[in-house]
Every structure is written in structure tokens, then in C-alpha cells.
């Protein structure tokens, strides 16, 4: 690479060039296909939605901010519940090597299953699409955090636990004051992956279950054959995903420590 290293802001230009190239290819493709929306069409559509974010035209016709809020609320609820369960279980497994070894194969297997694959079973079990969508998020949030927490806790330096024991900390104090902060960076790395996979899962879950939200919006616009709106929704999903990821990077930065 010939990437100039002395220009600290070189990446911004490169980034813009990539964006322009992308828009150019897209515009060309739209020109040749005639039915595919051009960037300009998507921009117009976006403006239409963005200019009335809180529009409420009945149960199936809501502004983009409301839809995003629905998705985020579902995400946060499912993610919080999943994370609490995952961290609790992870701490227990991390402190008990035998249990960890015994359950690890199953955790690895469950981790490999797309949360969407659970949907029929969940829907069958709870018989309610709202709850099923929530449970998909819950499932998606569970495994990466669980695996990371158990790994992080089982790898805590013996010194820290020794100090906790010398200080005669009660079990709960030990967990809060030593185990969780010591494993904090690993746990947050798990939370970040969980959040990512939950956000990825929420779109198809909403689409398939017809629960109000961004995923539902995508599907609805596809049924309306409005590709421009679909592309707009895709952009929103991407942007929200990046923002959430950023949030976790900050959290990770706050908890990081040098050993």
C-alpha cells in the first residue's frame, strides 16, 4: 500500500470517493434497469419520510421515527432481559469449571443457530407474534454474552479473586466489586456482538411476524412494490445499527483497563 500515512484525514477523502463510486454505479444501474429506483428517487422518498417522522395514519401507517422507536423498544427489552440472564448464567459457569465444560458444547451449538430459526417454535409456544418477536431478540442476545461472560470470568487473574477472599467479601460483593469489573471488557465485547445479532434478527422477525417496526416497514413497502422506500428503510436500519455499535464501543472504552 500506497496509502499516504502522513495525511491523518486521508481516510475521509477515500471514504467519500467510495461513496461517490457507489452512487455512480447505482445511478448507472438504475438508468439501465428503468424500474430500479435511482439515488435521486430514493433521496426524494427519504425526504418524504423524514419530513413527517411522527406521522400517525392508523395502525399500519406510521412515521419512520415511530417505527424506529417500536423496533428499538423491542430491541432494548429483549436485549436487556437476554443480557441479564446471560451475564448471570455466565458468571455461574465462569466460576464453575465443571459446569462450564459440561455446557459449553451446547452453548456453542445454540450460538451457531440463527435466532430466526427459533421463530416457528417460539410462535408455536407463545402463540403471540409480539411476544415471539421479543423472544427472538432475547434469544439473539443470549449466546454471545453468555459465552463471553463465562470465558471472561473463568479467566480472571487469580490475584484479584485472592484479594477478594482475603478481604472476606460476601459472594454478592465479590461478584459486583471484583468479578464483573474484572471480566467487564470481555462481557461488553459479548454484549456488543449480542446487540449486533439482535439488531440483525429484529428485521426479519418483524417482517415475518408483522410486528410494527422497521422490519415490518421493509416488508410492507416491498408488498407495495415501493423499492425506493425499501432502500430508505435499509439505510435507516444500517445507520441505527452503526449508532448502537458506537454506543457499545464507548462503553467498552470506559470499562477497559491495562493489566
Amino acid at each position: 500500500m500506497a496509502v499516504p500515512s502522513d495525511t491523518a484525514k486521508g481516510w475521509i477523502w477515500l471514504s467519500l470517493v467510495v461513496l461517490l463510486l457507489f452512487l455512480g454505479v447505482w445511478a448507472l444501474f438504475a438508468l439501465t434497469s428503468k424500474t430500479f429506483p435511482s439515488p435521486a428517487a430514493v433521496a426524494r422518498e427519504s425526504w418524504f419520510f423524514l419530513s413527517r417522522p411522527f406521522y400517525d395514519g392508523g395502525p399500519n401507517d406510521k412515521g419512520i421515527a415511530i417505527l424506529t422507536a417500536y423496533s428499538l423498544a423491542r430491541l432494548c427489552t429483549g436485549f436487556l432481559a437476554g443480557s441479564v440472564v446471560a451475564i448471570l448464567l455466565g458468571v455461574i459457569l465462569g466460576l464453575n469449571q465443571t459446569l462450564f465444560k459440561a455446557l459449553n458444547p451446547y452453548i456453542q451449538m445454540l450460538k451457531a443457530i440463527s435466532p430466526i430459526a427459533w421463530m416457528p417454535l417460539l410462535l408455536y409456544s407463545v402463540k403471540d407474534s409480539g411476544w415471539a418477536a421479543l423472544l427472538v431478540v432475547f434469544m439473539a442476545s443470549l449466546w454471545p454474552t453468555l459465552a463471553n461472560t463465562a470465558f471472561g470470568v473463568s479467566n480472571i487473574k487469580a490475584d484479584y479473586l485472592n484479594i477478594a477472599n482475603i478481604l472476606q467479601m460476601k459472594p454478592l460483593t465479590k461478584v459486583c466489586k471484583v468479578i464483573l469489573p474484572a471480566a467487564g471488557p470481555t462481557i461488553v465485547a459479548g454484549l456488543k456482538i449480542s446487540m449486533g445479532s439482535a439488531w440483525v434478527a429484529i428485521v426479519p422477525a418483524e417482517a415475518l411476524l408483522g410486528s410494527l417496526g422497521l422490519g415490518y416497514f421493509v416488508w410492507n413497502e416491498w408488498n407495495n412494490l415501493s423499492l425506493a422506500s425499501v432502500i430508505f428503510a435499509i439505510l435507516i436500519i444500517g445507520v441505527v445499527g452503526v449508532l448502537i455499535d458506537n454506543l457499545f464501543s464507548r462503553l467498552a472504552g470506559g470499562l477497559a483497563y491495562v493489566d
Binding site: D159, I163, N165, I166, L167, P181, Y257
Partner: protein
Amino acid sequence: MWTRTEPEDQAPAAAPLFGPVGVLPQDDRGGSRRQGGTTVSKAMLEVEKISKHFTLSGQKEPFCVFRDLSLQVREKEYLSVLGHSGCGKSTLLNIIAGIDTANSGHIILNGREVQEPGLDRMVVFQNFALMPWLTVFGNVRLAVRARYPEWSKQQVADWVDKYLDMVGLSGAANKRPWELSGGMRQRAGIARAFSVKPSIMLLDEPFAQIDALTRGVIQDELVRMWEETGITIFMVTHDVDEAILLSDRIMLMSPGPQAKFMDEIEVDIPRPRKRISIIEHPRFYEIRNRIISFLSQKG
């Protein structure tokens, strides 16, 4: 809990609880044995015939670090165990601290057997063992809170400040351990240990990772705090000069496996001892030579 059958206060005054200090009658160590010594006070920590072995994978015979090791630490004493690296000093110290377990034997502190770690035996670790996610202040506060759970926030903070001040760390209270030099970190470790007022402090080569110039300063500080607080110190080290400079008494440990105490030396050089002038004291080289000659023997 197993308690001593013979409470210390019932022991006749004429016959001290321990005969030749730290020596079991059948334990043949050679060297001179002091009856009592000049500073006789009762044993506050007794290590009774502890043995430790590790079963190494792929080997039939367990690796025996030491067998039937005994010693006694008197109240307010500075006792050092001196031995080569790998002879089992840390293992011994960790067993006393309760963070490692012996395969047999007993640790008796103030007349009661102890098996779990506790605030009565604070450890100062060679690698400092400070919590890196906490500041220096936070590290000491964690200990103070554990020791005095009923105290108010302000009381705890004042107490922490007092001990940070004692080791000259007030200016670095809000720094994280990794921002500090080894010497500063160990000061925090020492402040943490003193702040909970343990019965005995266990020091595992506390100066080994500190540069030579800082080491002397911190050693002086430690001795000053030890004298001021009247705490008992048990230290393990491989540094001969450090042991002589700091200790009231030194136990020499043979190289492992199956390490034994080979000799025991009262360091009868008056305090305050200065690093520069101690080498001029006539006893210094006698003690030093005796230690060196023992340590260069084969176990």
C-alpha cells in the same frame, strides 16, 4: 473449627510456648539455636508441620515442595524466610494466607486454627495485585470498606487518605495502577495492607520488582510504618541484604524439593538500621557470611 488444646494464657510463664524458636525437636538443622532470644514475646502465628505437594501430570511421584515445615512468628516481630527462587517461599506464604491449601499441617493465628483467607492476614504481593479498574484510592477503599463495613463514606475516605498519605501517594490517589511506576504501585499495595490493620502482614518478595533506588526508600518507609503500627510482619525473599536490613529474625530455607529450614538467625543489629552504615556493623558480615554459606550448600 479446631482450636488449640492448650490456650496460650494458660501456658506457664517459665516455659515459653515454643522452645528453640521455630524448631521441632526432631528437626535437625545444625547451626546455633537460640533459647528465646532477647525479645521474647508470645508466638502469634504458628505454622505446624505443613506439607505441600503437587501432582504433576504425566508423573507418578508427586512433587513435594516441603514436608513438615514449622515455624513461629512472635508478636510485633519482623520475620523473614530467605531462600532460593523456587524453593517454595510463595507456596508457604500463600498457605499461611489461606489462598493455597496445605496437604497436611495447621496454621494457628492467635491460638486459633485458620483455613480460610481473612482480613487478619493481609498480603503484599510481588506483582502488587492491584485492581486495574480502580484508582489507587479505589483500591485502598475497597479494602477499608471490607474491613469497616459500618463506616460512613466520609470516614472511609478519611481513613484511605491517611494511609495514602503515610506512603506518600496522596498526589497519585486518582491514578490507575498502570499509570504508576512499580514503586508507586507497591506503595499502594502497602497502604492497602496497613489500612485494614491486620494481625500479621505477609509480604511476598515485595521489593523484587522495584528498581534499586526506589527500593531503599520504600524499605525505609515500610520499617517506619511497621514500627509505628506495631504490626507483625512475615516476609519471604531471596535477597540476603534485604533480609538482614529489615528483619529481626531470618529463617533459611533449603532449595527444594522437600525444602527445610536449615538455620535461623537473630539479626541483633540495633535499629534504626541504615542501608549505608549497616555494612560497617561488625555483625553484618558475620550474619551475611553465615547465610551465604548455608545457602550455597546443596539441599
